[in-house]
């Protein structure tokens, strides 16, 4: 079941388009914002709210990279693996974080604190290497800065 708040927020979005179904991506984002990820149950909830089939909603949900169909940690680290960051050494940044947290790309720490995901270009190429944690951008990264940066996210 959608919460009252989720339903209200989705309704607001549907007003911006000629028909409710067009707000599907916004609805998925809203539900993910409240629940952390998009479960099968969430797919069903959105389908009935927007008068779509579950498969149709899942087709949309599974297309977009920032919609999570599996649970993720409380904090998501998105490491840019595109070419400018490669030249400037994202691999050593990833290796350090991966070793420190004991997880690889696509994995979540056992305490649920972090998930690491590779990400395409973050538009920070002139300050590469770059990454995002949740909604925060970090650039000009060096290994020395990482410990302190991760401390902020519990």
């Amino acid at each position: 079941m959608l919460s009252e708040k989720e339903r209200e927020e989705i309704l607001e979005e549907t007003k911006l388009y000629p028909y409710p179904k067009a707000a599907c991506i916004d609805a998925l984002k809203i539900v993910q914002h409240h629940r952390g990820w998009i479960s099968d149950e969430a797919i069903a909830d959105i389908a009935s709210e927007l008068d779509m089939s579950r498969d149709e909603v899942d087709g949309v949900a599974s297309f977009y990279t920032r919609l999570y169909r599996k649970p993720v940690g409380r904090n998501v680290i998105l490491i840019c693996d595109s070419v400018s960051c490669m030249i400037m050494g994202y691999e050593s940044i990833y290796d350090y974080i991966s070793k420190k947290l004991g997880i690889k790309f696509g994995e979540t720490t056992s305490d649920g604190r972090f998930t690491i995901i590779p990400n395409t270009c973050l538009g920070d190429c002139d300050h590469a290497p770059a990454l995002m944690i949740n909604n925060d951008h970090y650039n000009n990264l060096s290994i020395e800065k990482i410990d302190l940066m991760l401390e902020k996210y519990q």
Binding site: C24, S82, C125
Partner: protein
């Protein structure tokens, strides 16, 4: 040197708010067109200015607008969409404009909407641009309260609603017809063309999709005219361009310079030249989907015609530098991995071909490639080229590969002969 687009953008400072923007002459363009210009006059002016689309394709903006059918021929809503889904590897120019001068974009959108008689406009923005999201939302609210958006704008009888949509993340959504599907809440898969968006776009209605940098030009062209605009460039194509450089240069960054500035000037005078100990080996001039240029082509002018004549495309104008300490095969492999991952999966050659190319490049990096693999790569540059796939995604991916094979063939061969990557 004039820098109309970025004049009021101060690094690490908040962008101009509505009042400050108005003090610089902001929204005068909206007043001017709503009080005394016919939509066709605006389209005519933008046409004579020769404003070429800054998203990468370089299609003439005025011409694009003129393809929208008149209201008497097609009924119903028409739409304007700002493409702010910047996700081309190596590209960070629209972010600068979105974060730095949001009202300039909004004013451009209002004028463009009026020119095509749109009553709804959307900014389709990349999810990762969180700072820009906050800035744009605030600017839209300010524009509504000042009466530049909404019903009966400045008493002219013209109505326009503008909304921000942040994407859920896929490179292909930067392709305009995929963007429209995404904006309709669907999977972001490109559409067959024709019909082009001008006749059947968002929700099946006439639609124009323009890049952020393109739309940001409109208020300036209205204010200063087309002659002024054309004279800004060194090559007659018109305007300045946001140029960026990333990679092993001393001062990576972004600069607004006359369209037609040479690669040498941009790299040496603005980006400070190569870092000590690194040599320039190749240049990707305008984002991941453009062909390599090499060091001997450094005097090429960065405009649409000159870069095309040199064998590549201006694209987004934000160049990536390949230095001599970076393996060209690894560089290309990284690009192809990106394209393989970002294929929308709709058409078979792209969905299956790109991962195949990626695997073959992996063999080179691991030292297991043979001469046969060069043939396989060359085969794909033709069969994933223009005309063989549903959209330009795979052909774009083949551009750096085909030129890489041409210019860095010896480096590919070294991987085969030495059975490992010589750079590792």
């Amino acid at each position: 040197m004039e820098t109309p687009l970025t004049k009021y953008i101060k690094p690490n400072q908040a962008p101009l708010d509505l009042k400050e923007y108005e003090k610089t002459g902001g929204y005068e363009g909206v007043r001017k067109v709503l009080k005394g210009m016919l939509p066709d006059d605006i389209i005519g002016l933008v046409k004579t200015s020769n404003l070429l689309g800054r998203g990468g394709a370089g299609f003439q903006t005025g011409l694009k607008w003129s393809l929208v059918p008149k209201e008497k021929d097609v009924a119903g809503v028409r739409y304007l969409v700002a493409n702010a889904d910047e996700m081309e590897p190596g590209t960070f120019k629209d972010r600068y404009l979105l974060e730095g001068n949001p009202h300039q974009l909004i004013e451009g959108m209002i004028i463009a909407s009026y020119a095509i008689q749109a009553e709804k406009a959307y900014i389709f923005m990349r999810w990762a641009y969180k700072k820009a999201e906050v800035i744009i939302k605030k600017a839209i609210e300010e524009a509504y309260s000042a009466g530049y958006l909404g019903k009966n704008i400045l008493g002219s009888g013209y109505n326009l609603d503008l909304h921000l949509h942040t994407s859920a993340g896929r490179y292909i959504c930067g392709e305009e017809s995929a963007l429209l599907n995404a904006l309709e809440g669907k999977r972001g898969i490109p559409r067959a063309k024709p019909p082009f968006p001008a006749t059947s776009g968002l929700f099946g209605q006439p639609t124009v999709v323009n890049n952020v940098e393109t739309l940001s030009w409109i208020p300036h062209i209205i204010e200063n005219g087309s002659d002024w605009f054309i004279k800004l460039s060194t090559s007659g194509e018109g305007g300045t361009k946001l140029y960026g450089v990333s990679g092993r240069v001393k001062k990576p960054g972004l600069w607004e310079l006359p369209l037609g500035t040479t690669i040498r000037e941009i790299i040496e005078d603005y980006a400070g030249g190569m870092q000590d100990g690194y040599q320039l080996k190749g240049i990707i001039p305008g984002g991941a989907s453009t062909d390599f240029l090499i060091a001997s082509q450094i005097d090429t002018k960065m405009d649409f015609a000159s870069v095309r004549a040199a064998g590549s495309r201006l694209g987004t104008g934000t160049m990536m530098i390949l230095d001599d300490k970076t393996c060209p095969v690894a560089f290309i492999h990284n690009l192809i991995k990106f394209f393989a991952k970002e294929s929308c999966g709709f058409c078979t050659p792209c969905r299956e071909g790109l991962p195949w190319v990626e695997k073959v490049l992996m063999k080179f990096e691991e030292g297991n490639a043979t001469l046969k693999d060069i043939e396989i790569l060359e085969f794909h540059t033709k069969y994933l080229g223009p005309g063989n796939t549903f959209c330009a995604h795979a052909p774009g991916a083949m551009e750096p590969l085909q030129s890489g094979l041409k210019y860095f063939k010896d480096d590919f061969l070294r991987h085969i002969n030495e059975k490992h990557c010589p750079w590792r």
